[in-house]
């Protein structure tokens, strides 16, 4: 067991070092990432018009800003940036051979790499995120209950699992088709709107919101942010966490299942 852990700790280290080499790359990426946030803030400012103290779907202007700032924060924390492309690459050009020969579980290996990317990425970006939160401080309210932090952490962890397993399952398609980028982008565009990055999902028409609630997408970002903002509590919180956990399990089964099917027909190109 200890040996197992040491092995993956090594993988974690290597992943972190690789990420650190490209730190400028992702610092730049997040600097550019601020541009949409600026646009979003201006747009919603104009939405509130002259009445900045009003409400839209139960959000004050400050709450909306907190919503978008938190969404960006959680997104940086949990959204895989290159994992699906790397996994698909390893399948396509035969680099997988090298990994299959090692005494490691491929899913655990990739998950460790994903975790190390995310941890390092967040650590490097923390100063920048802090600056954003300081600039926007008059709009930021932290949770008032200690329990909220706990629920938020649990939900963010589950969101990370869902996002990773979806990315992994998508990459598995590379066993069957050569060019998976279109499929990735189709899923990505659905995730983009239904995970709450563009607008808070409780602004959807109620009938649509009721459907979306049962899909995995809100649990990738929107749900943890709602918990953080204490807009959801009690029974609704428990139900939400249960749905989120269920989706994490479903996506895990999908990821493992696709791997088993895929590896059977793997041809080890270039091996």
């Amino acid at each position: 067991m200890a040996a197992e852990l040491a092995k993956y700790l090594k993988v974690f280290n290597v992943g972190a070092q690789n990420t650190f080499v490209y730190r400028w790359n992702f610092i730049l990426r997040s600097v550019f990432g601020i541009v949409p946030l600026i646009g979003t803030i201006y747009l919603w400012r104009a939405m509130f018009g002259s009445d900045a103290s009003g409400h839209l779907s139960g959000y004050t202007y400050s709450q909306l800003i907190l919503y978008f700032a938190m969404t960006i924060f959680v997104e940086n924390l949990v959204t895989p940036t290159e994992d699906e492309w790397q996994i698909a690459g390893e399948i396509r050009d035969g680099r997988m051979n090298f990994l299959l020969l090692k005494p490691i579980n491929y899913l655990a290996y990739r998950f460790t790499l994903y975790a190390s990317y995310r941890v390092l990425y967040t650590a490097v970006l923390l100063p920048g995120i802090a600056v954003i939160f300081i600039v926007l401080r008059e709009h930021i309210t932290l949770p008032s209950h200690g329990f909220t932090w706990l629920a938020f952490a649990a939900s963010t962890g589950l969101a990370a699992l869902i996002q990773f397993f979806i990315a992994y399952a998508l990459a598995m398609l590379a066993f069957w088709i050569l060019e998976i980028s279109t499929v990735i982008f189709i899923v990505f565009s659905i995730e983009y709107f239904l995970s709450g990055q563009v607008f808070p999902l409780d602004m959807l028409p109620p009938w649509l919101g009721a459907i979306v609630k049962w899909t995995p997408f809100p649990y990738e970002l929107y749900f943890p942010v709602q918990i953080f903002m204490e807009r959801i509590s009690g029974a609704a919180l428990a139900t939400g966490l249960a749905i989120q956990a269920a989706w994490a399990v479903v996506m895990w089964l999908l990821a493992v299942g696709l791997w088993r099917l895929g590896i059977k027909r793997y041809e080890a190109v270039g091996g």
């Binding site: 730049l28 550019f32 949409p36 600026i38 201006y42 104009a46 939405m47 279109t182 499929v183 189709i186």
Partner: protein
């Protein structure tokens, strides 16, 4: 000049043949763009479920704006995007050498290697949306408006080109320029918001330094808000376009002086 036209015609023909070899991929890319576009329209629907107007813009005026953004950005993507996105790789591997030895201007050579016809189709979808939104607004554009609009669109495409070209040129200084390519999408993300929502220092930056908020707003206003001095808008867009084109050309020449090939 004729030589450039002839070269471009051949490039376009080759691209079409290539794309028809991968019909499924061609269709799937169209699906990607369509989903994205439908998402935009749904977003507008959500916004106008909350309020009647945004900074003086009505719902169908904003739909016109998003449709115009679709026309301009897809035209850019059809003609230039893939080529400019490939520049960092050309620089990294040193394959840029080949482009530099061609008997045409090197900027032309790297900018026009292939045409993406799927984006051209998506641009037509944009025209459809704009037409629909205009009907909802209950206005028929005058020939003058249409002429000004037709004049504004190429300027918009040129701004997209210059911004993306400038970002790609960063690859001469940074080896992994992938995040710059990413930056293009982040920047133009705000190009589909009504310019009236922007204020202060950011309004200045995104009007004059990186003129992304003019690109779709100027042509959209010519059609949907004709009372807001369309000629002045067009003149502003034209001036800003010339500035970014000249600026990025200078950046390119500077970058080439730095370039020392990769293999040697």
């Amino acid at each position: 000049m004729n030589r450039y036209v002839a070269i471009y015609r051949l490039t376009a023909r080759n691209s079409l043949i290539r794309e028809m070899n991968f019909k499924l991929n061609f269709l799937l890319w169209m699906v990607v763009e369509l989903l994205w576009f439908v998402g935009q329209l749904a977003f507008i629907e959500v916004l106008y479920g909350q309020v009647q107007d945004i900074a003086g813009w009505s719902k169908w005026q904003v739909v016109t704006l998003v449709g115009v953004h679709q026309i301009v950005s897809q035209l850019f993507q059809a003609i230039f995007y893939v080529n400019l996105a490939a520049l960092p790789e050309l620089v990294r591997t040193g394959r840029l050498d080949l482009m530099l030895t061609l008997p045409v201007d090197a900027q032309f050579a790297i900018s026009t290697r292939q045409v993406s016809f799927d984006c051209l189709v998506n641009s037509l979808v944009g025209i459809g949306i704009v037409t629909f939104a205009m009907t909802k607004l209950g206005t028929v554009p005058s020939p003058m408006q249409l002429a000004l609009f037709a004049a504004a669109v190429p300027f918009g495409v040129a701004v997209h080109y210059a911004v993306m070209f400038g970002l790609s040129c960063m690859s001469f200084w940074f080896i992994r320029a992938q995040s710059f390519i990413h930056g293009y999408f982040n920047l133009f993300h705000i190009g589909r918001y009504p310019e009236a929502v922007f204020r202060g220092v950011f309004r200045f930056i995104f009007t004059w330094l990186i003129p992304i908020i003019l690109v779709s707003n100027v042509p959209a206003k010519i059609l949907a808000r004709p009372l807001e001095s369309p000629v002045a808008g067009l003149a502003t867009l034209a001036t800003a376009t010339v500035i970014v084109l000249v600026g990025t050309r200078a950046l390119w020449l500077l970058a080439l002086r730095r370039y020392g090939s990769a293999s040697s």
